[in-house]
């Protein structure tokens, strides 16, 4: 009996090890055959074939985990979870750099920087791109129904159109404290990175007036389908989502107020505790290359930092031809990039929770 058991065990082990050997053997003639890359990225943020193509090209295996807020990502990484690539937003990269959680990129291993648009390089959160390579970028603006909202109103009022009672009950706000305060501060002509108590208080009152008089719906990603179906006249939105909406519904437009808006970017970084930085560099190169960037941007709809891809997609015959939301760059001195400031974040966070309570009581 003992012998029989041993035989079975041996058989099982053989089969198991053959299985493992088989899978790594199959995926691998590439330079990184048998290695694993751990990526931590936003949901619905990669092209259809990006991962599969990268695996085929390098022989490596990619494990991708998903986060839905920068803060969620931060907590997991700060607790020691080891990833090779993270894709946080600007202000979070600033924080990670400040807290010494990233490793500098080895620029001799990167061949992609020249392919990228100038507007997304050298931004204040990482002035020399020592730590980060842009993944997607864009702005925040107003998506509007061109049949219901006149461009003159938008041009005259900017973000203050969200206080215009003509559109009462016909607006979406975005459920994000940073973007809501950005909108209010810009409407009031302040910097969105202000830490001035009086200005923050004024922005808070602006938002209170909005939720008390305008019956807004405070949503997140539902805004994409809802605006594509034309359910409301106005909404605060990320440019990439607006590009998708406009490609689905030509009646929708995208507007960026003269008073300025948030110029954001999400970028790839390599954390200090990465186990395979070489492979991570290869991944950054692949995502930034024409092939990878094209796959990403044409599928997800956010603006590619790769110049050639951006021009092809927005140019004649491209997926986003004539859609201004896809090419959000412009010269406006009022546009800003978010800076990381924990004290102000707390203040804004608390005020925004009170805005939501007020909205809830008003409803």
């Amino acid at each position: 009996m003992k012998k029989f058991c041993a035989l079975v065990m041996a058989l099982v082990l053989t089969v198991l090890s053959a299985g493992c050997g088989g899978s790594s053997g199959a995926s691998g003639e590439g330079e990184f055959a048998g290695q694993t890359l751990r990526v931590y990225n936003w949901g619905e943020y990669t092209g259809e074939n990006l991962i599969a193509n990268f695996e085929a090209a390098t022989g490596a295996r990619v494990v991708m985990d998903i986060f839905d807020s920068n803060e969620q990502m931060y907590i997991k990484v700060a607790n020691g979870e080891a990833y090779d690539i993270l894709v946080p937003s600007d202000y979070m990269i600033e924080r990670l750099i400040q807290e010494d959680m990233l490793q500098p990129l080895d620029k001799s291993k990167l061949d992609c920087m020249d392919l990228l648009v100038d507007e997304v390089k050298g931004l204040p959160y990482d002035p020399n791109n020592d730590y980060s390579v842009p993944y997607f970028w864009g702005t925040v603006g107003i998506v509007y129904d061109t049949e219901k909202v006149s461009l003159e109103d938008l041009e005259a009022e900017g973000f203050n159109i969200f206080l215009n009672e003509k559109y009462k009950g016909d607006i979406y706000l975005y459920d994000s404290e940073r973007d809501s305060f950005m909108m209010a501060l810009k409407a009031l002509g302040c910097s969105m990175n202000t830490s001035d108590q009086a200005e923050l208080e004024a922005a808070y009152n602006w938002l209170l007036q909005c939720v008390n008089t305008m019956e807004p719906e405070i949503v997140t990603d539902e805004i994409i389908d809802s605006m594509a179906q034309g359910r409301k006249a106005l909404g605060l939105i990320y440019s990439g989502d607006a590009a998708y909406i406009m490609s689905e519904n030509p009646q929708m437009g995208f507007f960026m107020p003269e008073s300025g808006t948030n110029l954001w970017s999400d970028a790839m970084v390599i954390p200090k505790n990465a186990e395979n930085p070489d492979l991570a560099h290869a991944f950054i190169n692949y995502v930034s290359s024409y092939e990878g960037a094209m796959d990403n941007s044409s599928y997800v709809g956010y603006t590619s930092p790769n110049k050639e891809v951006m021009e092809e997609l927005s140019g004649e015959g491209g997926d986003y031809e004539g859609i201004n939301a896809y090419t959000p760059q412009r010269d406006n001195a009022n546009d800003e990039v978010f800076a990381y400031d924990e004290e102000t974040r707390k203040v804004i966070s608390e005020l925004f929770s009170k805005v939501k309570i007020a909205a809830s009581n008003a409803g």
Binding site: K346, S349, N361, G363
Partner: protein, 279 residues
């Protein structure tokens, strides 16, 4: 016998670690200033003052109590007849019906609530159906009605099962006696059956009202971003704002509110019980 009571030790340790310790931490947080070191902390009542001096917070608390009350009322009114019907069925039918009531509870509450999002959403099945029936296409999701529906749906099994249990325990000879003494069916129900089922109703109320008043994911999913109940305020303080002290203070206030309502319900139970004695 001593051996048996020793078996409870793992549970006592577990309860102390998982229930008592967090509760003590909440109390500690609620009465201290933010940013304390582990050893040294300064006591304060400011979080409570902040809550009770702000009409917005009080209004949210009031709205949470109102919607929990409505939920409990609807669960009771709808649940009692169902429980009564189940209790009066024969064994086989009763087992099937009880299974039908408990079956959905095998699926996670969160998943079931997500399913309602699909049903209620704009352009979803229910809206289309109402449109076909000539009611226009009313907005269903992200309304107070949706939240109420979600709560009743999730909590009504607790009400039905509790009432059903107490109805099943009812001694049939009492009904025969009542009929013998000339009571009609209606009188029998109001004077005999209902008072005797009150303990079940009371525990049903407790099991529905308490989770309803503190529920946060149902209003979050079905009420949308601009629908806050007190549970959402607490969640928001912990997860987004990062004000653990204030969040703990609100939690503690909720514990008080719940204990008060439990006490009120117990009183109801006892007065019901006295009626039972009189019968």
């Amino acid at each position: 016998m001593k051996k048996f009571s020793q078996l409870a030790i793992p549970y006592i340790v577990w309860a102390a670690l998982m229930i008592l310790l967090p509760l003590l931490l909440i109390i500690l947080y609620a009465f201290t200033k933010p940013g304390n070191e582990f050893i040294q902390f300064s006591l304060t009542l400011e979080h409570f003052a902040k809550f009770f001096t702000d009409p917005d917070f009080l209004l949210v608390l009031w709205r949470s109590l109102v919607i929990a009350f409505k939920t409990t009322l609807i669960c009771g009114v709808l649940g009692y007849p169902v429980a009564y019907f189940i209790a009066r069925s024969n064994d086989r039918v009763r087992n099937i019906l009880i299974l039908a009531i408990t079956l959905p509870m095998w699926i996670n509450m969160l998943v079931r609530t997500y399913a309602w999002i699909g049903l209620l959403s704009d352009g979803g099945i229910l809206q289309k159906l109402l449109g076909l029936l000539g009611f226009g296409e009313p907005k269903l999701l992200y309304t107070e009605g949706a939240v109420l529906l979600g709560m009743v749906y999730n909590f009504i099994p607790f009400m039905i099962l509790q009432i059903n249990t107490s109805l099943c325990k009812l001694d049939h000879s009492l009904l025969e006696a009542s009929a013998d003494l000339g009571a009609d069916r209606f009188q029998t129900f109001w004077r005999v059956v209902f008072p005797l089922s009150l303990p079940g109703v009371v525990s049903g109320i407790t099991l529905v009202f308490l989770p309803a008043v503190s529920s946060f994911f149902i209003p979050k999913l079905l009420g949308g971003g601009q629908y806050f109940l007190i549970g959402n305020v607490i969640e928001n303080q912990f997860i987004t704002v990062g004000e653990w002290n204030f969040g703990s203070a609100i939690s503690l206030i909720m514990v008080m509110v719940m204990m008060l309502s439990m006490y009120a319900v117990r009183r109801l139970d006892r007065s019901g019980g006295r009626e039972e004695d009189r019968l």
